[in-house]
Symmetry: C2
Subunit: 296 residues, 2 copies
């Protein structure tokens, strides 16, 4: 029986950990705040007092943390996985972090015989709950095959992209497109609204053609109903966009469109909308155009 560790029981991590438990794996969890740990323990998980303690007792450790430094701390820091992890342990990072950090972790852990997979996910809280996430994997095929039984529980589409870091590159690519769709949706809905066309009819007219996309398929009905709660928080979208832009800078890749979508998410957060859904970036366009999609 595979022993699985999960570190980071947040919006995404908690439902993922629950699905791993439900599928019958032995689960050990660790989290900064206690509430989510107690919840998982009540369902049958064990609790680990530190990543190091966990590393000595499981076959693989998943991490799902806010940003690059968090994953680095839990992995390479004090009481981190590297302190007690033995050769053969596999670390699988479900967080969205910098590709450069993923490669650094893979290298450092590799020296102790610990394998590292960057395995960021897409599909949001609902995908995490339903076990239908898209998982983009960078690292060795060999390690991927060992953790695949667990990944199959978390996600529907699992793609091995290539060497360490390429899973995070795929996630960056994903966020380039997601942000473009969300902002374009905001712009076209406000164009319709302010020019006197019915935004719902406009969406109906275009969503079966070349404009078809995930955002137009899933978000307009929520926006028309005045629903702007996450889903996927704007502040996390902005964090991901900053990773994209930093990575693009490292590789010398000017990204004019992504620069703009990043700035609009930055504006959204500065305007106090950081806790809303990423589709609520339409709120920035509303303020620029002085018109609202629907009455307050």
């Amino acid at each position: 029986m595979l022993k699985v560790g999960y570190i980071g029981l947040g919006l995404m991590g908690k439902p993922i950990a629950k699905n791993i438990l439900k599928a019958g794996f032995q689960l050990m969890v660790h989290n900064r705040s206690r509430g989510a740990v107690d919840e998982l323990v009540a369902l049958g998980a064990e609790s680990a007092s530190s990543p190091a303690e966990m590393a000595a007792r499981v076959d693989m450790i998943f991490t799902n943390l806010p940003n690059s430094p968090d994953v680095e701390m839990v992995t390479l820091g004090k009481d981190g996985v590297i302190e007690s992890g033995n050769s053969g342990l596999i670390c699988v990072d479900n967080s969205t972090i910098k590709p450069a950090t993923a490669r650094k972790l893979a290298e450092a852990l590799g020296k102790k015989g610990i394998e590292f997979l960057d395995a960021p996910v897409s599909g949001g809280e609902i995908g995490a709950q339903n076990g239908t996430l898209t998982i983009m994997v960078g690292g060795s095929e060999h390690a991927l095959e060992k953790v695949r039984p667990v990944l199959n529980v978390i996600g529907k589409t699992i793609t091995h992209v290539g060497a360490s870091g390429t899973g995070q590159i795929a996630k960056a690519a994903n966020q380039i497109m997601v942000a473009a769709q969300m902002v374009a949706m905001g712009e076209l809905l406000i164009l319709a609204k302010k020019s006197g066309a019915d935004p719902e009819k406009v969406v109906a007219a275009i969503s079966a053609g070349a404009a078809q996309c995930w955002a137009l398929d899933h978000k307009p009905q929520r926006l028309f109903a005045g629903e702007r709660q996450p889903g996927f928080k704007a502040i996390m979208q902005l964090k991901d966009m900053n990773i994209v832009m930093e990575t693009a800078r490292e590789y010398g890749i000017p990204l004019p469109l992504t620069a703009i979508t990043t700035q609009l998410y930055a504006a959204m957060c500065e305007m106090g909308m950081e806790a809303l859904d990423n589709s609520a970036v339409i709120g920035v366009i509303e303020k620029l155009a002085g018109v609202k999609l629907q009455p307050d």
Copy 2:
């Protein structure tokens, strides 16, 4: 038997006219250059020497012309439809033109009892050939019902958006999203390429998740094969983007993302890539980043 007129037998108009003919309608055609007219006449269409001549002899006239002034000339100009069109005639404009021009034409024709529908299409040459276009209609429901038997032959999705001009607003909305998808696709493919990830694997990893869209579903395989021919020409995409930006300016709607995609299509055309497919806007990102998706 409905008598149908079609003016403008270009890349889109010619296959549409052929489909109308194939469906059994009586067809009369008019076009600036003679070649396409002869082709349609050989298939059984009649030829009209001018829009005015056509207007006296058909029940409805479709137009499919490059830009706003062309449609205005054919409709309201010398030897135009308005000169001999009788009350009850219906004009259906399949071109992509300014919403403001569509409203102007509707008003001018309306004074003579001629109805006008703006009915721009999306779906490209292939959609025109297969009769699977998306049609966005502005104007009266009454006129739409009269021309619907013909529209059913040219398109798969027909949506009545609202009053005159709203069909063109929907097309503008469509182009906001299409341009965003195309440019974002270019940026993410070049990010993958230059950072050492396999662009094909990256597309495979993300295209079933929240990044899913028409562009990622249809264009990457062509780009990977080095195929950048249209499809839908960049110069026409730029024309449409200029309509979007002009319309946004008229209504006082700042569109930061669309301003950028418009500029990138402008750059593409200035760089000599105006006759390539709209997905070939990746060529601009390639030049900015100093890297090509695949060897020459």
